[in-house]
Symmetry: C2
Subunit: 133 residues, 2 copies
DNA sequence: CTGCGGACGTTATAATATAACAACGAGCCG
DNA sequence: CGGCTCGTTGTTATATTATAACGTCCGCAG
């Protein structure tokens, strides 16, 4: 508890591990199924871990899929505007943070006196590789 | 059948009516409950209507809420990037389409050769009125 | 020791969404 | 007319996603 956002518990480690090894996003129940062999029995174990991991910026939720991914950067330092490009064919998720996008959006928010707490930006489509195929 | 995206059926009209009169977003089940008095009995009736209405741009889905709103513009003509600011206190949803945001995002998409089909932009927070209160 | 708080395990249930099939009706074409 | 096809509808059942509620365990401050 000295500096960081406190260490992860065993369950949180396992959930993060499952997400990190996955090549794409996973639903909470997919995580649960994978971790049953490690002793997981019920959804709350997964959801509780995810909640903490998201609070720490280690995991992101993809709203348009109801699924979760490990943060590509190890940990997002919570405040920035993060966006995702999601390939509907291969499931590839590209996490990015584009300055122009962030500026234009924060600009709108300021102009409209909106007090922002969380922003979701998700682009669905086909990645370069799949579009070519 | 002549020009438009074909007329709405009775169920579609009713669902659109419910959404239009609502002051905020509604879940599919909230719509169902409201339309039970008009004869609706089961979820597929609502979901089928919503599917068509969304295809026609008359209704939008808010991914971060699993809820739906009528398009503020009557009908979005599909192509623009539409964004939503959602007040977590009063439920107000502001639909907007900002040129700077659209440009910066389509720019990223082009640069990364991503073949976009659908984009979700949702800002959660407090609207000016609620933030002031 | 004792009480407190946080993580954990467990059961149950809520909320959201879709699959699958039967019935109906409008239009077409023999 | 009669039969066909096609799209909408109604209906039942079930899948998927998420949370409420409660009890246990354990480390630690007092």
């Amino acid at each position: 508890m000295t500096a960081e956002s406190s260490a992860l518990t065993k369950n949180q480690e396992m959930v993060l591990g499952a997400l990190s090894q996955a090549k794409g996003p996973m639903s909470a129940y997919a995580i649960l199924d994978e971790l049953r062999q490690e002793g997981f029995r019920a959804p709350p174990q997964v959801y509780r871990a995810l909640e903490k991991l998201m609070k720490n910026g280690l995991v992101h939720r993809l709203e348009s899929l109801n699924a979760f991914v490990a943060c590509s950067h190890g940990a997002c330092h919570s405040t920035g505007l993060v966006a995702f490009a999601i390939c509907d064919q291969c499931g590839l998720v590209s996490e990015f943070s584009d300055e122009a996008v962030t500026n234009s959006l924060t600009n709108w928010i300021a102009k409209n006196q909106f007090s922002n707490t969380k922003t979701t930006i998700e682009i669905r489509g086909d990645c370069a590789a799949c579009a070519a195929a």
